[in-house]
């Protein structure tokens, strides 16, 4: 059953049309990989789902919440309600720099979910444990490594028990040697049955964990299928070209 449905979403920045009629229906438990050249609106798509961007046209339906765009005053409350149930991990993590790892994870539980303090701390510790950082709970973000910061961000999102997790290139800001630890964490979460939308350039990883892959280009979804279908047998030339280019980068002569 579809948990999230986007209908005919349009979003432009001035005269730059970024999303040009996106239709998408995501089922509960889906792990959807989103790939495509940079600048095609992958981030904008994720950010439109939780209304960090305001599309000019279209409809977003998430379980019992339906938002018709553009938003009218009354629907503001629904936006907050929707955000409470959709978690997001940003490309640059955006940890609260003045809070410790534990406080980062507790923040949403206290302020948004209004859980009692005692319970909050336990949930936060469990979430940190899941990403292997329980021992680092009293550290500030600036004292954590590049690989640990996204894991705190993931724990912060997980602790809220969201119905959907949006991940926007969670490893692209990392040094290569740190990528694996973060991917391992994401894989572990994916295996727990979360619904996820993951934008990533790690094609092998996307292909391994997703049950569905979207290829985005020119503001439209131009490939939509299983990893096998999209990566091995793309229908469009644009996707073929893009994957060829990505594969070339991996060929031996590029390793020195």
């Amino acid at each position: 059953m579809a948990i999230l449905e986007l209908k005919d979403i349009h979003k432009s920045f001035q005269d730059n049309v970024v999303l040009d009629g996106i239709n998408l229906s995501v089922n509960k438990g889906d792990i959807v990989g989103i790939v495509g050249p940079s600048g095609t609106g992958k981030s904008t798509l994720l950010r439109s789902i939780n209304l960090l961007e305001r599309p000019e046209q279209g409809e977003i339906r998430f379980e019992d919440i339906t938002l018709n765009l553009p938003l009218k005053g009354k629907e503001r409350k629904s936006v907050t309600a929707l955000r409470k149930r959709i978690g997001m991990v940003f490309q640059k993590f955006y940890l609260f720099e003045h809070k410790t790892a534990l406080q980062n994870v507790m923040e949403g539980l206290i302020t948004v979910q209004k859980k009692p303090k005692k319970e909050t701390e336990q949930i936060a510790l469990d979430a940190l444990e899941k990403v292997g950082l329980k021992a680092w709970k009293n550290h500030y973000p600036k004292h954590m490594s590049g690989g640990q910061q996204p894991r705190v961000a993931i724990a912060r999102t997980l602790a809220m028990k969201p119905d959907i997790i949006l991940l926007d290139e969670p490893t692209s800001a990392l040094d290569p040697e740190l990528v694996t630890e973060v991917l391992t964490t994401i894989k572990a979460i994916a295996e727990q049955g979360y619904t996820m939308l993951l934008v990533s350039h790690e094609m092998d990883f996307v292909s391994k964990i997703s049950n569905r892959v979207l290829f985005l280009d020119g503001g439209k979804i131009i490939e939509d299928g299983t990893p096998e279908e999209v990566f091995r047998h793309p229908k469009s030339d644009r996707a073929k070209e893009f994957f060829d280019k990505m594969n070339k980068l991996k060929e031996p002569e590029f390793f020195i």
Partner: protein, 244 residues
């Protein structure tokens, strides 16, 4: 007859003046404290209005800042001192019934001081608000916080921390500014000195004694703020990792 240095300046007299002035320090601090509260509340309000570019209010705030910064403190004190009773009398002539003489002089002084300082503090706050990472605001928004919650939980606490050095300056400015309140007839340390010097004509000793007192208060305040800043600042060194 020879004139000695002590004819112009007697160190002994200066020291003996200090205890009489110290007695009025509580008035000075009370005035500075109340003005500080006014300046923080109004300064924060103006800063948020300008930070959020609130319609209608934002240009009003900007005009207020321009007025406050473009006129001397002393003149503002006089305007408050004579102006507020005048306004109240107008209200009374419309049927209100406010006893103008009941309003303590203190109120004019701390209000005028507070408003004046608010103009400067608000700019400190605004710079501090603008220095809060937009990404953190976005992360908090994406969690489902309302704007009010983001403001309370993320923006204001971080901005306050960034604003601490500016707030320290503002407190020191206010303490020194209270010396002007003598013009409203409040007997704080500066006015106390005028009264004493009026009796023995030892103005210079009195003013030097005053300078020493203001200086010491300022040094103490700076020390306190250094401690507060240190408490707020994220430590340079990470904690050791706890054994699990």
């Amino acid at each position: 007859m020879d004139t000695k240095f002590s004819d112009y300046f007697s160190v002994k007299l200066m020291w003996s003046r200090i205890p009489y002035l110290v007695k009025k320090i509580p008035i000075t601090l009370e005035l500075a404290g109340l003005a500080f509260l006014v300046s923080i509340v109004i300064g924060l309000l103006i800063a948020v209005i300008r930070y959020k570019k609130v319609k209608i209010l934002s240009p009003i705030a900007t005009a207020f800042l321009s007025l406050m910064r473009g006129t001397p403190m002393l003149i503002q004190l006089y305007v408050a001192y004579y102006g507020i009773p005048a306004i109240l009398r107008i209200f009374n002539s419309w049927g209100a019934n406010i006893d103008v003489n009941v309003i303590p002089k203190m109120v004019y002084a701390f209000f005028a001081l507070g408003l004046y300082q608010a103009a400067f503090t608000s700019e400190t706050f605004r710079a501090a608000l603008e220095s809060v990472d937009k990404g953190e605001i976005e992360a908090a928004t994406a969690m489902g916080m309302t704007y009010g919650q983001v403001l309370r939980r993320i923006i204001v606490p971080e901005a306050l921390e960034n604003a601490l050095p500016g707030i320290c300056n503002s407190v020191i400015g206010l303490v020194k500014g209270t010396s002007l309140a003598s013009t409203c007839g409040i007997i704080e340390i500066t006015y106390q000195n005028q009264i004493l010097a009026g009796r023995d004509y030892r103005y210079l000793e009195g003013y030097v004694a005053l300078a020493i007192i203001y200086w010491i208060i300022t040094i103490i305040l700076e020390k306190i703020f250094k401690l507060v800043e240190k408490k707020f600042r994220i430590p340079e060194q990470p904690k050791t990792v706890e054994e699990v």
